[in-house]
């Protein structure tokens, strides 16, 4: 009798600890609803917007867990760059810029987070064009909740400014186009 109660209590304790740690907080990035975009000046007169169409990865989001409980890994297929202009995309894929044959994947792997459940700063390593640098992305939660198809989703947006030549892509596009903004719109389905 005592043995059985102890066993049940133990099982309940294990469930209580394991459930939020593994299931509730781990998300897989939904490639169909995630976008990595960049915005760069066009000779100072306007903006050029580009998108990486193929984005994948996973993240852990636990609104109860505090800063240590949040992390993300994003993988970007560099050949999926699209700026709505065939020859420009060809140039962007070439060795002058992304060199997609040699560096087919760009990644962001978070290392820390400061902020609350609604937003903050996500630090981590961005590997782009074979160069890894620490960056700090301003992030904001967009929303979370049940989707109409039986799953649970959460979405975030992030923005960071990077300098092209830091990543070995210093091809001269003019003084106003040396840095560019990266925008990440990441949606995940809870595992």
């Amino acid at each position: 009798m005592i043995k059985r109660t102890l066993g049940a209590a133990l099982a309940a304790t294990v469930l209580a600890f394991s459930a939020p740690a593994a299931d509730a907080a781990d998300y897989t990035i939904d490639s169909g609803h995630s976008f990595v975009q960049f915005k760069i000046s066009h000779i100072g007169v306007s903006w050029m917007i580009g998108t990486f169409e193929t984005v994948s990865g996973s993240f852990t989001y636990d609104s109860e867990a505090g800063p240590e409980g949040q992390s993300i890994t994003v993988e970007i297929d560099t050949a999926s760059v699209d700026t709505n202009h065939a020859e420009r995309d060809k140039h962007l894929r070439s060795a002058d810029f992304l060199n997609v044959d040699e560096f087919p994947t760009a990644t962001f792997v978070s290392s820390g987070y400061e902020g609350d459940a609604e937003g903050g700063v996500m630090t981590g390593d961005l590997t782009l064009h074979g160069v890894t640098k620490a960056i700090a992305i301003d992030v904001k939660k967009v929303g979370e909740g049940k989707d109409p198809w039986g799953g649970y989703r959460a979405g975030f947006e992030g923005a960071v400014t990077i300098t092209r030549k830091d990543y070995g892509m210093g091809y001269n596009l003019g003084p106003s186009s040396e840095s560019m903004e990266l925008f990440l719109f990441i949606e995940g389905t809870r595992n």
């Binding site: 999926s80 202009h85 065939a86 020859e87 060809k90 091809y171 001269n172």
Partner: protein, 192 residues
Amino acid sequence: MWRSGKDHYGLVAIGFHWTIAVAFTGLVGLGAWMVGLTYYDPWYNDSLALHKAIGIVVLALALAKFGWKLADRKPGFGPEVRAYERAGATATHWILGALLVVLPVTGYLISTSEGAGIDVFGLFEVPAFFDVTAGTRDLAIHLHYYLAYGGIALVGIHAGAAFKHTFIDKGSTLIRMLIPRSRSNSVDQPEK
């Protein structure tokens, strides 16, 4: 005069040959030059627009040339061209003819892969007819590159052979492609 004869080329065949020769060679040169231009070169955008427009014109010229060739009489090789040289020459002509279609088509597929058409000198636009996948596009990029430089090497062989048959073999191969008249055996020497 306009049509070819048994032993000479007509003015139309000669016109097609040299127009396409100049345009094709020019396109390869233009392509090699333009890919090295930097962002701030005045020709950075215009060179590509010109390359695409001329490419469409060459495709149209090549198709018209093939059509004309079907209807035209076919002058045989001159007596100075040996049997094995005839086989090589025929193969070269066929490959060059195929390149006149394959190169513009691969270029077209690259340029229209995002859905934009090709503007031809502001006169009209060739729309993007096909939905080009990334794999097809990358194949087209590689084909366009290697076939263009391979093609120009073949043009060199073709021209070298014409010179050989004209100056070494003392034939009329090159003269025939310049003068649209039957000149029997009296024109074996090139005009200086």
